[in-house]
């Protein structure tokens, strides 16, 4: 009998049992649909994450010390703490050796960690400026007076703000509150300001120590950074580009904020929210009336309106006030109410008010808490609780083209490796020599904790007999030379020093696993002391996330397909029992067992391909449509996973073939048992039944 004949019988059976076919078919359709759409989605997300990770920080492979205490995770631990990966001694040695491997395109030295900057609150900021002006012999007396007026005005605003709200400042004790009220009263009086110029130091200190702490702000900026060779980094991460300011000049110490971080964390809160609202309205076509998210942002702006009126001086307040009254057609005299009303925007007023904000208000407020060109005192903390600080100039901001809005790619700011070493606590030769000198002066030996009790002998000095004379302490020279900023370094200093880890770029990223093996082998043979991991491992929990997503999806698809397979098997089995006589008759007129098997197999294959095919086509259609339109990322979490504002899916032909192949495999597997059962039906059995 021909295959065609078998197919015809199989098709007839499929149509004969429509209900059963439909149930099994819909499960198969669903499975195939889920496989195509789900995999495209997960591939889209993991591809986005891979791109934004490898092209912004990890490269294809990361290397680090084989003696590392923790596993390398460039994004830190899940709880936000940094990992301890130790360090490697000479970048040059390691890099030169790795570059001998023909697969390796480049090696970029790195060290990733966290740091903080505390720009202080707004009163601190104004007081420091005023102090500088007082000390400047060229200062314009008018400017000085204007600054004083602004501070006086700010103090009044603080007083107004705190009236009846002192209890909200939980940290203050009752006594502190009373003292704060007295202090506020004191600085509100004319007498405080009359002799300000002649006693500016003590007056400013009073304001800084007694009044400024009453402003409760969270101005601390906490961020991740990568210390590297900035020029090499720029060259090897081709999507790197400067957005604001300039590139750190070669051989110079410096710092670049990631533009995403700068715009989202360093910028004035109200300005940044207005930017976000504008973007959402434009890109995602959201409206304030229709979006809870935008309404919340508007509400937050109104609540934090103090961020504007506390920063404006009396003259600016006057100017802005007049313009605001015009804009809002309002007679309101209280500037604070005016600002609140102004910030309470709706879809109609947003665009005009957005423009008004940037034109009339922004020039008077501190738009960025750290300005390009500032020298930052940057502090970093190590696991053991020690902290170090370096002064470093902010040259500008940078981003990676095509994933400007990816929080993942925007995670790291950048500094030179020499500053990182200082921040991390590595010694320079000069420092080592000074250490030795101080140690000699100190004249104490290290004693381990186990032997510490030896220090407590009766003659050790824990019980001095005599009272020592209250002599004056030795005169220590208290005149220091300021260290010059913007220090430079030589290529040798950069390349021969320590580094924490490095990104390895491959000519063909597909060779990743092979190259990792090679590097491990070379390190073992030549004692380089390094270990190599894939970008995914180096990305730590971020890298694991894509793996987890794929695993969960595959489990779902697996369950759907297993269910479909079992149902197919069950229905075939029942069909075999139902059609005992038919099969028996077939066998009696000479049909081989092989024919029966094919009959069942074709039936399943027909169902699998038909319904699986429908699922694949539907899934592909959805993927193609989403590929053109994109799924908008609503909220930070989605933006994080999508590595950008929208996720575009791509249809992978390989995936379509794989799904179809899986359908065939299911058909084969599900057919085995029922077919075997059917094959065992003999013509004799069929006859007997009839009798």
């Amino acid at each position: 009998m021909t295959h065609f004949m078998v197919l015809k019988i199989a098709a007839r059976n499929v149509f004969l049992h429509r209900m059963r076919t439909l149930v099994v078919g819909s499960i198969l359709t669903f499975g195939a649909f889920l496989a195509v759409v789900g995999h495209s989605f997960v591939n889209g997300v993991s591809g986005g994450m891979e791109n934004s990770t490898t092209q912004s920080i990890t490269g294809d492979i990361q290397i680090y010390s084989e003696k590392a205490k923790d596993k390398l995770s460039v994004f830190g631990n899940m709880d936000g703490s940094p990992v301890d990966v130790g360090h490697l001694d000479s970048f040059e040695n390691v890099s030169n050796r790795l570059m001998q491997n023909t697969d390796v395109a480049a090696v970029v030295p790195m060290g990733t960690s966290f740091a903080t900057v505390n720009p202080g609150n707004i009163l601190d900021h104004f007081l420091e400026t005023l102090r500088k002006t007082f000390k400047d012999p060229q200062a314009d007396p008018k400017d000085l007076e204007s600054q004083k007026r602004r501070i006086r005005f700010l103090v009044q605003e603080i007083k107004k703000n705190l009236e009846g709200k002192f209890e909200e400042i939980g940290i203050l004790s009752a006594a502190d509150v009373e003292q704060a009220k007295i202090n506020l009263e004191q600085v509100s009086r004319d007498t405080f300001w009359q002799d300000f110029n002649s006693q500016f130091e003590s007056k400013i200190e009073f304001l800084a120590n007694k009044i400024a702490p009453l402003i409760f702000d969270d101005n601390m900026i906490f961020f991740s950074y990568v210390g590297t060779d900035p020029q090499l980094f720029q060259q090897k991460f081709p999507q790197f580009e400067i957005v604001k300011g300039e590139m750190i000049p070669a051989g110079t110490r410096g710092f670049l904020f990631h533009d995403y971080f700068y715009e989202n964390m360093v910028k004035h809160r109200i300005a940044r929210r207005l930017d976000q609202i504008k973007k959402k309205m434009k890109d995602d076509k959201l409206t304030i009336a229709g979006s809870k998210e935008l309404q919340d942002q508007i509400k937050a702006n109104v609540e934090q309106s103090a961020e504007i009126y506390l920063q404006l001086g009396p003259v600016e307040t006057e100017t802005v006030s007049t313009k605001l009254m015009q804009l809002l057609s309002s007679q309101e005299k209280d500037f604070r109410v005016l600002i609140k009303n102004f910030l309470d925007m709706n879809d109609q007023s947003f665009q005009t008010r957005y423009e008004f904000f940037y034109k009339e208000i922004a020039p008077y407020v501190v738009l960025y808490r750290v300005k390009i060109g500032d020298v930052l005192p940057l502090s970093a903390f190590t696991k053991s609780g020690t902290s170090t600080a370096v002064n470093i100039k902010v040259y500008g901001t940078f981003r990676f083209k095509s994933f400007e809005n990816s929080p993942l790619a925007g995670n790291f700011s950048l500094m030179d490796l020499v500053s990182l070493r200082e921040l991390y606590g590595f010694m320079t030769e000069e420092r080592r020599a000074q250490n030795k000198q101080i140690e000699d002066e100190m004249g104490l030996n290290d004693i381990g904790q186990d032997a510490i009790e030896n220090l407590f002998s009766s003659s050790s000095g824990a019980r001095p007999e005599k009272t020592s004379a209250a002599k004056k302490s030795e005169n220590v020279e208290l005149s220091f030379k300021k260290r010059i900023m913007g220090a430079t370094y030589t290529p040798d200093e950069l390349n021969k020093g320590v580094f924490l880890h490095a990104a390895v770029f491959l000519k063909d990223p597909g060779r990743r696993d092979a190259v990792i093996k090679d590097i491990m082998a070379i390190s073992k043979q030549e004692g380089l002391g390094i270990q190599a991991v894939s970008w995914q491992d180096a990305a730590g929990f971020i890298g694991q996330m894509t793996f987890m997503m794929k695993a969960i999806l595959n489990i779902f698809i697996g369950i759907a397909l297993l269910l479909a397979g079992l149902m197919i098997m069950n229905s075939l089995l029942m069909a075999a029992m139902d059609r005992k006589q038919e099969i028996g008759t077939m066998r009696a007129i000479g049909a081989h067992a092989d024919f029966i098997y094919r009959l069942f197999f074709y039936e399943t294959l027909f169902i699998s391909l038909l319904f699986g095919g429908v699922g694949v086509i539907l899934g592909s259609l959805v993927v193609v449509i989403i590929g053109a339109v994109g799924i908008p990322a609503s909220g930070d979490v989605a933006t994080f996973f999508f590595s950008g504002p929208r996720l575009y899916l791509h249809l992978n032909p390989g995936l379509v073939f794989t799904v179809i192949a899986v359908m065939v495999v299911i058909a084969i597997l599900a057919t085995q048992y029922p077919a075997w059962k059917a094959m065992k039906i003999s013509p004799l059995q069929a006859m007997q039944k009839r009798e």
Partner: protein, 261 residues
């Protein structure tokens, strides 16, 4: 700048002084009395100035050494550390006035505010570490018996933070010399009972304070061991102490700035 350094220096100058006591076993009242003495004697109404050396050893890293001048004016609750060596750190300073802790860097000429509201990531240090000892006010004392530390007979005390008091370490174990009432060993524990830091005070100095009109005990050498990160340790040496009156305008930003040119 090392936060721990400052904490250590603050501790060094904040550790209490003691008096003769002969009895070996103590009643609760006697135990409270000893701890109160430690506190009382520490509230030195006069000025204080000392030359300190600090050696910070972090596991697997080269040790870092500092020399600094520490100044204190207890009357006004003012405290200042001015780093003198090495060159990279010279001129950097911490100034504490009331609840404000300021950090100065001559390189930038900037003052950075550090407050207790600020979370010092990854550190146990809080601003309260810089306050003078308020053991009686902040902790309940329990006498735990006698012990020996090297050649010295000591009393052991367990101090537990009182309810509602915010302290850096909720539990302290103190080993106090029976004869002289000097703290010889101090253990700081977390709420969970986990040991965080052990400090040893093998050398004490006795100085006459004119403002106090009596002797003041000052630790000369302190050795601190990090119990969380084994291998990290700190040695503090207080080489010279001066209890004379300090210049009136010393605890100001202007004074600190004037030291760097």
């Amino acid at each position: 700048m090392f936060i721990k350094t400052i904490v250590t220096l603050a501790l060094a100058v904040a550790i209490g002084y003691a008096e003769e006591q002969k009895k070996e076993l103590l009643t609760q009242a006697q135990a409270d009395e000893i701890i109160k003495l430690v506190d009382d004697r520490q509230r030195n109404s006069g000025d204080y100035k000392s030359l300190c050396f600090v050696k910070e050893t972090e596991k697997n890293k080269e040790p870092r050494l500092f020399q600094a001048m520490v100044y204190r004016r207890d009357d006004d609750d003012k405290f200042m550390i001015l780093f003198t060596k090495p060159k990279e750190e010279a001129g950097k300073a911490y100034l504490k006035i009331d609840k404000n802790l300021w950090n100065y860097d001559p390189g930038t000429g900037k003052w950075e505010r550090r407050t207790e509201r600020e979370k010092l990531a990854g550190t146990n240090s809080r601003r309260s570490d810089f306050d003078e000892s308020r053991l009686t006010e902040e902790y309940s004392t329990k006498f735990e018996g006698t012990d020996k530390l090297g050649d010295y007979k000591v009393y052991k005390f367990k101090l537990t933070a009182k309810d509602g008091v915010d302290v850096a370490y909720p539990v302290l174990n103190l080993w106090i010399d029976q004869a002289e009432k000097n703290i010889l060993k101090r253990e700081e524990l977390a709420l969970s009972g986990k040991l965080m830091r052990s400090s040893f005070y093998p050398k004490w100095n006795k100085k006459y304070s004119a403002s106090k009109k009596s002797d003041v005990w000052i630790p000369e050498e302190i050795r601190i061991f990090d119990e969380l990160e084994k291998g990290n340790s700190t040695i503090v040496l207080i080489k010279e102490t001066d209890l004379g009156k300090l210049e009136e305008n010393m605890f100001t930003k202007a004074w600190i700035e004037s030291k760097s040119k």
